[in-house]
């Protein structure tokens, strides 16, 4: 089995700040892989480096067997799409859902737009009734569904998910997580998902990497984490924190 994403010794430097300090990982085809850590750990930077949104200083990124250079071509973006954290910020406020979904189709010169938009909206459970609405007329969960539809409309094989539910209510989060699981199963997608919430990552991913200060702390399978078979103290701290508040004394 080939790796969908292989990263080797990745360094990202913003001015003098080293956001990623030589991180390596491998995501198999069809796998769901999680990145966990607190803010500033470099987990989002890693996703952004893959898409070309962060300055890569050293290291290699290989996607579907192709080594990425300084720029990304159109074929890359057809294969790799990203869903961002904040659905309030990632949708154009003055464009209708229809217009938002047309954009990737126009960029890539895809002809059967009409059918694809209808299918994408159906797939994320919105239906065509939402097609001519604006983002501000939608709830947070509906907006994130539009963002997912926009990512899916090019039929990518890899989805990069940057905290896709952290701006949503717990109850809406469940719906979006279920939707993501369903599209992954149906389309045999590869996920690389970032979250600060261990419970979400163990729910969604088979393997995960814990990050801190731009470095990998350890790599675990979800079942190791569930069984508390972790070796780093930092991971243990995260696990304890995710169990919620416990009154001391």
């Amino acid at each position: 089995m080939t790796a969908a994403i292989a990263i080797d010794g990745l360094e990202v430097i913003f001015d003098r700040f080293r956001a990623l300090k030589g991180v390596s990982l491998e995501v198999k085809e069809g796998e769901s892989y999680g990145l966990v850590g607190e803010s500033g750990s470099g987990k989002s930077t890693l996703l952004r480096a893959i898409t070309g949104l962060a300055p890569v200083a050293a290291g290699a990124i290989t996607v579907n067997g192709k080594r990425l250079g300084k720029t990304r071509d159109k074929a890359f973006y057809r294969d790799v799409q990203m869903v961002f954290q904040d659905p309030y910020g990632s949708l154009h406020p003055r464009q209708t859902v229809d217009r938002l979904l047309q954009e990737p189709l126009a960029i890539h010169g895809i002809a059967d737009g009409e059918k694809r938009i209808e299918r994408a909206l159906d797939e994320v459970g919105l239906g065509t009734g939402f097609r001519f609405r604006y983002a501000h007329q939608l709830s947070g969960g509906q907006r994130q569904r539009v963002a997912i539809a926009r990512a899916l409309i090019l039929e990518p094989s890899i989805l990069l998910l940057d905290e896709p539910t952290s701006a949503l209510d717990a109850s809406v989060q469940a719906e979006v997580l279920n939707l993501l699981e369903e599209v992954r199963r149906r389309r045999k997608l590869t996920f690389l998902m970032v979250s600060h919430d261990l419970a979400i990552i163990t729910h969604m991913c088979e393997r995960l990497m814990v990050m801190q200060n731009g470095e990998a702390v350890e790599t675990l399978t979800a079942s190791q984490l569930i069984g508390h078979r972790v070796s780093a103290d930092y991971t243990r701290n995260l696990l304890r924190a995710s169990e919620g508040f416990v009154r001391t004394a």
């Binding site: 607190e38 803010s39 947070g140 209510d169 717990a170 109850s171 809406v172 989060q173 469940a174 719906e175 997580l177 279920n178 699981e181 369903e182 600060h196 919430d197 261990l198 419970a199 979400i200 163990t202 729910h203 969604m204 984490l225 569930i226 701290n237 995260l238 696990l239 304890r240 924190a241 995710s242 169990e243 919620g244 508040f245 416990v246 009154r247 001391t248």
Partner: protein, 279 residues
């Protein structure tokens, strides 16, 4: 739980005028609070924050607040003059907001903001205000208070900012504290530190606390009692220790929809909202 009532809310309503008519964000909420920790839980739009804001007197001016009774320590809050209300606010009733990035003044050092709160409500000298602000920063477990005193909000982390916020709110020794999602902008590990500090200070000072959050699990581990809101109404009031036996399907739905480590469920149970809950 002690017998004396600090806050009495009966049939609280908050109405907003919109282009399409009146919208009731809070529709007849009633509860009372002693010197205890009460959680208010609900989704966005359930009216939980507007309930907190109405008690604090921070409802936007275009909105209408009405209640059969809204009394703090026996005083009717709704018939008070703005001046009397202002004297209470930040003094005997304090509020912690969600995100220290937005709720602290960006152009004033942290220490000065804390001292300002104190000097607004008490006649103290500048030197004494500084002393007490430093002591307060110490109380929220900031290691080097003298250094943090002179820092600006953008120079500190989210966890540190939220501690400064707690320090600012506690310095006047309020009897009622309203915390509106005090930790949801923070990392999980920092969340627990901040909650521990808040918990300790609330217990030491015997304050009443209203903890507003969308996270039912967090609230139930922190509070004595939980009020669950849906569409502007209270659907259930329950002791945190008895949450397992919650009867309302909405409460049960909120409890079940979160993924938990070691409890695999695919797909996650989702809430089925019924129109009769909001009736």
């Amino acid at each position: 739980m002690s017998g004396d009532t600090l806050l009495d809310v009966d049939d609280l309503r908050v109405t907003f005028p919109t282009r399409t008519g009146l919208v009731q964000a809070v529709r007849g909420v009633s509860f009372s609070l002693g010197r205890e920790r009460l959680g208010i839980v609900g989704e966005s739009g359930s009216g939980k924050s507007q309930t907190g804001r109405a008690i604090m007197g921070l409802t936007p001016p275009q909105a209408q607040v009405s209640a059969k009774k809204l009394a703090f320590d026996g005083m009717d809050l709704l018939s008070m003059s703005p001046r009397q209300r202002r004297a209470l606010r930040g003094n005997r009733i304090a509020m912690i907001l969600q995100d220290p990035k937005y709720s602290l003044d960006p152009v004033m050092s942290i220490g000065r903001q804390i001292a300002e709160t104190l000097r607004t409500h008490e006649k103290v000298s500048k030197a004494e205000a500084r002393e007490r602000a430093l002591a307060m920063l110490q109380a929220v477990q900031i290691r080097d208070p003298a250094r943090v005193f002179d820092l600006y909000p953008h120079e500190v982390s989210g966890g540190m900012g939220q501690r400064a916020m707690i320090a600012m709110m506690l310095i006047t020794g309020p009897e009622l504290m309203i915390a509106d999602e005090p930790t949801s902008a923070l990392d999980v590990t920092v969340q627990l530190d901040v909650l521990n500090i808040l918990d300790k200070l609330v217990a030491e000072r015997g304050m009443g606390l209203i903890f507003i959050s969308h996270d039912l699990r967090l609230v139930s581990s922190f509070c004595d009692r939980v009020v669950v809101m849906y569409a502007g109404k209270v659907v259930e009031q329950i002791k945190a220790s008895e949450l397992r036996d919650a009867r309302h399907p909405y409460t049960r739905g909120l409890l079940n929809c979160m993924p938990r480590i070691g409890f695999e469920r695919h797909p996650l149970p989702v809430l089925e909202r019924k129109p009769e809950w909001s009736a």
